[in-house]
């Protein structure tokens, strides 16, 4: 593994961790670029801070309290359903790669999985968990 980056170009189908190094490089590059730009613009720009300028903007009306207060539960419900559905969607990816090989038996398994998925989905909709106007 010390020969990292050697023979790299022939590794298209030689799946190992080396393939991910360019992504690491890009992360460093992108984050560095963003940080540099933010720092430079903060240095270049003028600084004339006044009390009014630093106040929270609420269209000229004096603001009451701050935004650290509870929000509607609906968003929370969407987020928790998202987590569940996301995991279910992830399960389909390994299937999609292999599905020709798995044939009808694999398709049957996925069909059953989707059936359970849909039962839950119908339940959610019937209970009105995704209803926004109430």
């Amino acid at each position: 593994m010390s020969y990292l980056f050697i023979q790299f170009l022939d590794t298209v189908h030689q799946n190992n961790a080396d393939n991910y190094l360019p992504i690491g490089l890009q992360l460093i590059f992108a984050a560095g670029f963003v940080a540099t730009m933010l720092a430079l613009s903060a240095i270049v720009g003028p600084k004339r801070a006044t009390k009014d300028k630093l106040a929270t903007f609420t269209s000229g009306i004096e603001s009451h309290g701050d935004a650290r207060q509870p929000m509607a539960i609906k968003y929370f419900l969407v987020a928790i359903l998202f987590v569940l559905f996301d995991v279910e969607v992830i399960f389909f990816y390994p299937y999609a790669v292999n599905f020709r090989e798995l044939g009808w038996s694999g398709f049957g398994a996925v069909l059953m999985f989707v059936a359970f998925f849909l039962v839950g989905f119908v339940y959610i909709i019937k209970k009105g968990a995704l209803k926004w106007e109430d």
């Binding site: 010390s2 020969y3 990292l4 980056f5 050697i6 790299f8 170009l9 298209v12 799946n15 393939n19 991910y20 190094l21 360019p22 992504i23 490089l25 890009q26 992360l27 590059f29 992108a30 984050a31 963003v34 940080a35 730009m37 933010l38 430079l40 613009s41 903060a42 270049v44 720009g45 630093l54 106040a55 929270t56 903007f57 609420t58 269209s59 935004a67 929000m71 968003y75 969407v78 987020a79 998202f82 559905f85 996301d86 969607v89 389909f92 990816y93 999609a96 790669v97 599905f99 020709r100 009808w104 398709f107 069909l111 989707v114 998925f117 849909l118 909709i125 995704l130 209803k131 926004w132």
Partner: protein, 356 residues
């Protein structure tokens, strides 16, 4: 111990760094001119000239905008959480710059006896990587909106995050049908398969439509630009931002647009494949020039999609929030599931020699 004893292929490292720098700065440049394109397209659709003062045909306008944005005063509201306030736009921009790593921008070129691939990283699970970066893009909006400590920003951030995660599901599901056809998650492989046969759009028109709608929603473009609904929320999740931080939020949106166009082109429209031409045969005649034509082809496809995005923006009004959520959960997800199952069944039937 010296660094050289690590056995790193330095040439390859430099090559990859150069490619990264080119791709990142090119996408920044294109994004800069996409803002100009947006204003021009809007002007044409509304029968007015649009920006035309800075330089010939107003071509220097985006540079002027950029310089202005860069040199503006950087305001951090006194009630905001300072570090999170700075982190928000940084995360949004970094996430949008990360997508381009797995997109194949062209075939290969021969340079100094080396074969250089025009893809930064051809990984085994390229599509899942894009999916991951998209799902991390939510943080830019959420953290920025929350750190501003402004009720409007927070509302917009919650809306934006809910919208993004809702449409992410349908997006993930619509992709699976394409993967069933290709049997690979590597974008490089998917494009190569389309070069050999038909483009995926022929087999997956519904899947493409779902993906396109979800891409609109993920990029917060009209008709899904509720996080920026200025008539209800002042300006949206970035309303306390100024200077380059605001610039990054706006810029990230345009880069996301370019990248989602590139992904759509690669998945459904053959990527860098030049239509009606056998690329491999061409390469024997023209050599490295083919790669250039391929990059050009991909860029034309991207520009077409960006134009489509803009056309929709200046034609269709914004959804109401409940309509948006109903569309995402009750139409897109079931539709994508049906599309996936029908595709799977048809491919399996065809494999077992059913003629229809």
């Amino acid at each position: 111990m010296t660094l050289l004893s690590l056995n790193i292929d330095w040439i390859l490292l430099i090559e990859k760094l150069a490619l990264i720098a080119i791709v990142v700065f090119a996408s920044l440049g294109i994004a800069l001119y996409t803002t100009f394109g947006e204003r021009k397209v809007a002007a044409i659709l509304q029968d007015r000239p649009g920006p035309n003062r800075a330089g010939p045909f107003g071509l220097l306008q985006p540079l002027a905008d950029g310089v202005k944005m860069f040199t503006k005063e950087d305001i951090i509201p006194s009630s905001a959480s300072k570090w999170l306030f700075i982190l928000g736009p940084g995360l949004a921009m970094t996430a949008s710059l990360m997508t381009c790593a797995v997109i194949p921008w062209g075939g290969t070129i021969e340079l100094f006896g080396r074969t250089i691939s025009l893809q930064i990283a051809d990984i085994n699970i390229g599509i899942l990587y894009i999916f991951a970066v998209v799902s991390l893009g939510v943080y830019g909006i959420m953290i920025g909106g929350w750190a501003s400590n402004n009720k409007f920003s927070l509302m917009a951030a919650l809306r934006g995050a809910s919208q993004a995660i809702s449409y992410e599901l349908a997006m993930g599901l619509s992709l699976i049908a394409v993967l069933m056809l290709s049997g690979s998650l590597s974008l490089g492989d998917i494009v190569k398969q389309q070069q050999a046969g038909w483009w995926n759009i022929v087999y997956q028109p519904l899947g493409f439509l779902i993906f396109f709608i979800c891409a609109l929603a993920e990029c917060n473009r009209t008709p899904f630009d509720l996080p920026e609904a200025e008539n209800e929320l002042n300006f949206g999740y970035h309303q306390e931002y100024s200077s380059m931080k605001l610039g990054f939020y706006l810029f990230a949106e345009y880069i996301n647009m370019i990248m989602s166009s590139a992904v759509m082109a690669s998945l459904y429209f053959g990527g860098y494949d030049i239509p009606f031409v056998n690329d491999a045969e061409l390469q024997t005649h023209l050599g490295n020039w083919v790669a250039l034509f391929q990059v050009g082809t991909l860029l034309i496809k991207i520009v077409f999609f960006i134009f489509l995005f803009m056309w929709i923006r200046w034609t269709i009004p914004r959804f109401r929030y409940d309509q948006l959520m109903n569309l995402g959960w009750k139409s897109m997800i079931p539709l994508a599931l049906v599309n996936m199952l029908v595709t799977g069944a048809l491919v399996l039937l065809k494999m077992n020699n059913w003629h229809f």
